[in-house]
């Protein structure tokens, strides 16, 4: 058997693939976070809670209305987006003129309230959620047995990331968005409804978190704290990628997933700190992040 650094090649390839799967979740989540920060300058600490809301929406849809995975993949993110739009309109938008810190504190408090109430109501233990039947089972790739569902997650994540990136960087709507954050008064003067655009942006970011939540539900259990376990890593991803850089967030998400996967092979005990070590190093060498612009 071919060995690389004392690890059999198939095992290494398997770990790389698993890292890529985890990276898909990091990318999806950091994408939403980067959209919100890049366009609204809000540090959205409620992102993990919105991810959790997405998973719970899918779980509740199935438990109470019998709506399965595929419709939930669309409905659940819309529910999260709607709730988040409401929150943005009634509360968050009042903080835009203040220091960024207020937005951070507000969303952090929001996350604690959401997670606390779900924990109180559903308990801390996870609720099981089954993925779609059609993706049950797995495929033997020779070097590893890939569960079909996880393969689907990778593909879905790449497609969604690309679509969002194109939407913001290449379309007219995206141009409005970017312009509206650059100089709201001017864009408003051109007859564009800026507050509506900002609400839609926040809803889009939150909806992406909700979508990641639905995708995660069959892989991990649906639990109130699933987001808080992830949010810190995702923030590290965004910081490494460069705050507000959408492309940077996507690429960093995948790369860090893979690096974390490799750490699990060589020194598993370090697997949950490797991301932060990288963050510290990047911040020292390039304070604006790998893809960020120096301000």
């Amino acid at each position: 058997m071919t060995m690389i650094f004392g690890i059999p090649l198939p095992a290494l390839l398997g770990q790389l693939l698993i890292g890529f799967i985890n990276g898909s979740f990091y990318a999806l989540l950091s994408l939403g976070l980067a959209v919100i920060f890049g366009l609204l300058r809000v540090i959205n600490f409620a992102h993990g809670a919105q991810y959790m809301l997405g998973a719970f929406a899918a779980y509740l849809l199935l438990a109470y209305t019998g709506i399965g995975f595929w419709p939930a993949l669309v409905i659940a993110p819309l529910i999260v987006a709607a709730i988040s739009a409401l929150i943005e309109r009634t509360m968050l938008s009042r903080l835009y003129d203040l220091d960024h810190l207020y937005g951070l504190l507000f969303t952090f408090g929001l996350a604690l309230i959401l997670e606390g109430s779900f924990r109180w109501y559903f308990g801390a233990a996870g609720q099981p959620y089954s993925g779609p039947q059609i993706l049950a089972g797995g495929t033997n790739l020779g070097f590893m047995f890939l569960p079909n569902y996880r393969g689907f997650v990778v593909v879905a994540s790449i497609v969604i990331c690309l679509a969002v990136w194109l939407l913001i960087e290449k379309t007219r709507l995206g141009a409005y968005l970017r312009a509206a954050t650059e100089n709201p008064q001017l864009v408003q003067a051109f007859g564009v409804n800026v507050p509506l655009l900002l609400t839609l942006t926040y809803a889009l970011g939150a909806g992406l978190a909700g979508l990641a939540g639905v995708l995660a539900a069959p892989v991990y259990q649906v639990s109130p704290l699933m987001g808080s376990n992830l949010i810190i890593i995702v923030f590290a991803v965004v910081v490494i990628g460069g705050m507000g850089s959408i492309g940077g967030a996507i690429i960093t998400g995948y790369v860090l997933g893979i690096l974390e996967g490799l750490t699990k092979v060589f020194y598993p005990e370090a697997s949950n700190i490797v991301v932060f070590v990288i963050m510290a190093v990047v911040l020292m060498l390039r304070p604006a992040g790998l893809f960020g612009k120096e301000v």
């Binding site: 308990g123 892989v219 259990q221």
Partner: protein, 407 residues
């Protein structure tokens, strides 16, 4: 205002008189207070959790609510699986809340820390929720007791069953703290002593959500048995993800070394069927257990596992010991706990060794197939009894220096 002063005076006097009170036949502070300290919101929330608190309250009610004519009180707190938080709570309980004994103590790292503090403070602790044999081994306490189960019993019970069934090569997925090491090492020793070998192990952090990477390493090791030296949600997640990666279909067996009714229920019979596991108590073993299970169900909506039933037993036995000693003074009660046989619905023929280990018969169960189940909680078939003397280490083998206790 007047009353406050009287109380204050009484406290001052009691403080001055404390050394003398140790000999007096009475209950300190006029109340026997038991603290249930465990994980109520994390990975082990169902393993013991607030259900253990409910079991403790049932024990108090069954005892009559009073001991030596003084009221009995149960207080509880969530230690979040963090030894530092647990020790702070325990210190506060002992120093300012008049707690006489702390029990349950899920999570080995927490149990060891709190037992250390209890020993220093001269207080009794009875552990039902943690597994490490260290509690009655090198880190034993003259006032520390270990109820329910430990890593040695699990290694002998579940490990033994799989070795007997031909599982002679093992790979471990181990929770990265005291409990995991203890469970892995004792199971590995047992496997080796029976002619088997250990091909490797991987340590994962507590509360891991994604086991795929670790499972893949276990899979490529080619071991016949993958030993899960973890607990609670961690084990449930590992089993669920193992089936995703086709590990069982590939011919490898999973050994969930610490798995209780709570996790079986959380995982569902479909995913858990066929698993071997070791518990000291099951609700459907006899009429007494069924009756207790039914009462517990009415209060909590679930059946108890050995941690919760064990906590009931520990509280009950402690109260019996206080009654027999005629005081809640630590040394007198500890003496009674060491000497009295344990005979209740949890342990039929239990006794406590000099190192604090409560020895009783444990059982090997197998999880039923979904179509064999007659009711919602009808999960187990009883496979074998693991006699207490085999399940638990003797004082000599435990590594506990009991001769130091008198000093």
């Amino acid at each position: 205002m007047r009353i406050d002063k009287t109380v204050l005076a009484a406290i001052l006097v009691a403080g001055v008189m404390a050394p003398a009170a140790a000999v007096a036949q009475e209950v300190s502070d006029g109340v026997v207070k038991i603290g249930i300290l465990n994980d109520q919101s994390g990975v082990y929330a169902d393993f013991g959790g607030k259900w253990s608190v409910e079991a403790a309250k049932m024990a108090v009610e069954d005892f009559g609510g009073k001991v030596l004519d003084k009221p009995i009180e149960i207080i509880d707190a969530d230690h979040q699986n963090k030894p530092d938080i647990a020790v702070n709570i325990a210190r506060e309980w002992y120093d300012t809340k008049q707690v006489d004994a702390i029990m349950e103590l899920t999570t080995s790292s927490v149990a060891l820390a709190v037992q250390g503090l209890s020993k220093e403070k001269g207080k009794i602790d009875i552990v039902t929720g943690a597994a490490t044999t260290e509690l009655t081994g090198k880190q034993c306490s003259p006032y520390g007791f270990h109820w329910a189960y430990d890593t040695h019993a699990l290694a002998v019970g579940t490990g033994g069953a799989l070795v007997k069934a031909g599982g002679d090569s093992w790979f471990f997925l181990t929770a990265d703290y005291a409990f995991g090491y203890s469970l892995e090492q004792q199971t590995a020793d047992f496997v080796k002593a029976n002619g088997g070998k250990v091909l490797g192990e991987v340590r994962h952090p507590l509360a891991t959500t994604d086991f795929s990477s670790f499972l893949l390493q276990a899979q490529s090791s080619g071991a016949k048995v993958i030993g899960l030296a973890n607990a609670g949600l961690d084990t449930a997640n590992a089993i669920k993800q193992a089936s995703e990666f086709g590990i069982v279909q590939g011919g490898q067996k999973l050994a969930a070394l610490l798995f209780t009714l709570a996790e079986v229920h959380g995982l569902g019979a479909e995913a858990a069927q066929g698993l071997n596991l070791t518990e000291g108590w099951y609700w459907d073993q006899n009429d007494k257990n069924r009756e207790f299970g039914k009462r517990f169900m009415e209060r909590t909506g679930r059946m108890p596992n050995m941690i919760q039933a064990g906590t009931y037993s520990a509280v009950l036995q402690y109260l019996k010991a206080v009654k027999a000693a005629g005081t809640d003074e630590t040394k007198a009660v500890a003496k009674q706990l060491h000497e009295m046989p344990v005979h209740d619905l949890f342990a039929k023929n239990g006794h406590v060794q000099a190192n604090g280990r409560m020895v009783y018969d444990m059982y090997l169960f197998q999880v039923k197939k979904p179509d064999e189940m007659k009711g919602k909680w009808d999960y187990y078939n009883e496979v074998a009894t693991v006699p207490g003397k085999d399940a638990f280490l003797s004082v000599k083998d435990s590594g506990c220096d009991v001769s130091a206790f008198g000093k």
